[in-house]
Symmetry: D2
Subunit: 271 residues, 4 copies
């Protein structure tokens, strides 16, 4: 079983300071949170940029500042989001990929997302993939529902994507797949050969699915983007607090936590 | 185990005469095909309207003509589609529901669909449900992926929908859930209590999933909308030919085929 | 998908003429039944010997007579049982293997079996395997419960058995695994790589599991050993009647039935 | 989700001092170990008696001494084993049940067990059940393979057993069901309604299956009977060390550990 890769999803596109007062928003805050998470055991940070007013943006300059400031502090892998926000074009969403970060997310389809639709048109998906190839960015394929894994299988079969792939199973978004052990086990049974996977449980699903992933040989994503609570009725005080708990559980379960360089090796990221 | 309800999906929104020369397009053709399918064992016909040039339409007048002509020929349950075509508004797609057909489809989310996106915005879904309640139309919930079943579970929990529900598991659309036995078994394991279900396997998945559904106590949808072939390399000669094969397999498997009135009772459709 | 191998389990060790008047018991009756089943589509016959009074026996001479008489009539693969009856020693049970039939069963563990225990001690299992290797008999591994598949996996891992293996999933014996679609799907998900498999559903499970196996790419065993009924309340008139129904369903499902030579090729049986 | 019941399986019938120097064998040692485990978070101790020479025994007097000495120290629930050892009669194995302990195990079938067969004849199982009813002992149904759960379902259906039942899923015995997450999820999907369950993973399966059970709402059994190691290459220093780790993981996962009285309430044990 590989060492455990913990991803910290620090900010997201939708969470607010009202919901989570410790949410990092500025490049400085994000870089500081990244360093704390790295110290707590994270080897990847998944980042979204925000404007000074807190609204989500795919502005390349802000992403550049975030990446630079994280790199100044620690060696954690930076994974940029290409999710963007409702209404953005594919080109806008792709902007941070041009910065050649080590990783970027690539969502494998469209799905209702709470009261909205998270649109990923097939043509846009192809454009995202082409850009990641061009800029030599390792994709993390975001899987919100079973059909998205099937679409990835089709890409593999067509040779558009070369394996082994790395996927993120995002479970518990209203409109997408349920945040249940059954969902996790089913998706796991449908993974492409040699795929590595992480699980991002939303809200109350974060902790139980993280423990299952540790036991199953998968990897774990936690952080404010997916869940702002430490326990029922008690907000987490930082992203690092959530990372540290996963690291402690992994320690009890004899699953060592990967350093960023170990994570690079597991994921096949060349520097 | 209930008697077997066979649904014939006669026309769809996308299949062309080039792909399937026997495709029924006009109200007269659709009514004739419905009658043939009813004679072959179908108790529901799932209908889409087309304009004289073959393009899809949600025109209420055309649906009215289709329904009237089917009713003149046979007692089969008419289920209208609310799927519409890319670019239609929710109001347009809802038009045939106002005709108070016995059933209508209600797609439970958004999903990539081949080279397009099949959009079902949460707000539109709520509008579709409200209309079906108002016009006393029994919904068939269309499930293209696992998350859509979860959304239906949420509606049931919220009391927005009262059970038992009837669902159609549409398996094999590129972009949605794979047309595999594993998909079928997983969705079946996640059904709401007392739900009735049918399976619509796309293309080559139609026949094996139909046989599984017969064995599992589910129901079966076949027809040109989902599959134009009788066997590999050989087009079906009619929708009824596909229905008749399912009826023969059901006969061999000691699963009697339901009449339209028996289907109404199984599905809780009041006339 | 391979062509469909139908095995006819003609007699078994326990069924009586009182339960099934058409049960073949003598070598002549068994040979005649084998020929009828071969004509109806079976490529393997699974045989048990009985004494003139109908009680089960592993007497080599009777097995020899059965095999000779079958071979005089048709080319079907003869698979002898090593199950024996309660109280027999392993050596007794092994006797027919010395006749070098093309196949023999090898039960992969112990399990309660109705009001008895079907004992297969680990040391006896090893002896059975050694004998089958010595006499160059292709084993069909009988799997009555999930743990038995695990034991086979262990043999494969230890190199005691070389793959690909052929297994028979016997589902529905009281005391063993339930005769349900869920059991079948679970065992199928746990098969060794490249394994071929057949399913023997007991009693009312025979027909639905047969249909599922046809759809899933597995093979099918039917016959009086497992089920004496044609339909609820109506006894089958012959083993061949049960075989013929499976062949008809396979025909409807576009799954051609294998000849004995095609079955030999699929199963890797050298002559 | 109920509070977590941790069972400590202190001694077993087969483990030796050579394998695990800290193995408790005498009534005094067992009672001391029980108290330590209770302090570490166990609410049930599963006990086997040994003779002074370390061989397993179902001697009622020794069980009586064990129970008395445990009760003198702490309030933990005592669950006696009825497994006995190879060659014992059902009456011998049942002896400790006559002491009216709060719980006793009832194995639901026969299965190969390493190099032996663990025999539980259907008639003996019925005798065990009758005795537990007579002496008002709460059974824990031991499930070593999928078919055993099916046998329990049959007892429930026949009304021989009243639900809700409590089962122990013993996973990883060579000859029985594999100690894998897939096994656990499958058995869990087949549980009778309202059943409570614990998982006893054997050897290296103990820790990952324990973590899964905590996440899934099940309960956990650990201890030297099932596993003598703390981690790869390092023996546990006591049963309590294994219990304490489970309690720590449960704490991290916000699943509080049950006291003995809370366990009694969850399991429906009247005193
Ligand atoms: Mg979807
Ligand atoms: Mg067993
Ligand atoms: Zn994100
Ligand atoms: Zn349609
Ligand atoms: Zn047999
Ligand atoms: Zn024990």
């Amino acid at each position: 079983m590989d060492k455990l890769i913990i991803t910290a999803a620090l900010t997201g596109a939708e969470v607010t300071r009202e919901q989570q007062p410790a949410l990092p928003l500025t490049p400085d805050e994000i870089a500081r949170a990244a360093e704390e998470c790295a110290q707590a055991g994270a080897s990847i940070v998944h980042v979204h940029a925000r404007r000074p007013d807190g609204t989500p943006t795919q502005d390349k300059a802000i992403y550049a500042e975030i990446i630079e400031k994280i790199r100044a502090r620690c060696d954690v892998i930076v994974q940029v989001s290409t999710g963007g926000a409702v209404g953005m074009t594919a080109a806008e969403r792709l902007a941070p990929v041009e910065l050649r970060p080590e990783m970027a997310t690539l969502s494998m389809g469209s799905v209702n997302f709470g009261d909205d639709v998270f649109l990923n048109h097939p043509a846009d998906m192809a454009a995202f993939l082409a850009a990641m190839k061009e800029f030599r960015v390792r994709p993390e394929f975001e899987i919100f529902d079973a059909g998205m894994l099937h679409s990835l299988q089709r890409w593999l079969k067509q040779g558009v994507v070369d394996g082994p792939v790395h996927v993120d199973l995002v479970l518990g978004v209203p409109g997408a797949m349920a945040g249940t052990p059954e969902s996790l086990m089913f998706l796991r049974s449908q993974l492409p050969p040699e795929a590595t996977w992480t699980v991002a449980g939303i809200g109350a699903a974060q902790l139980p699915l993280a423990a299952m992933a540790i036991a199953l040989g998968g990897h774990v994503r936690v952080g404010f983007e997916d869940n702002v609570w430490y326990r029922k009725g008690e907000l987490a005080t930082s992203n690092a607090q959530l990372v540290a708990r996963v690291a402690r559980i992994a320690g009890e379960m004899e699953r060592p936590v990967a350093t960023p360089d170990e994570a690079r090796e597991i994921l096949g990221i060349m520097r």
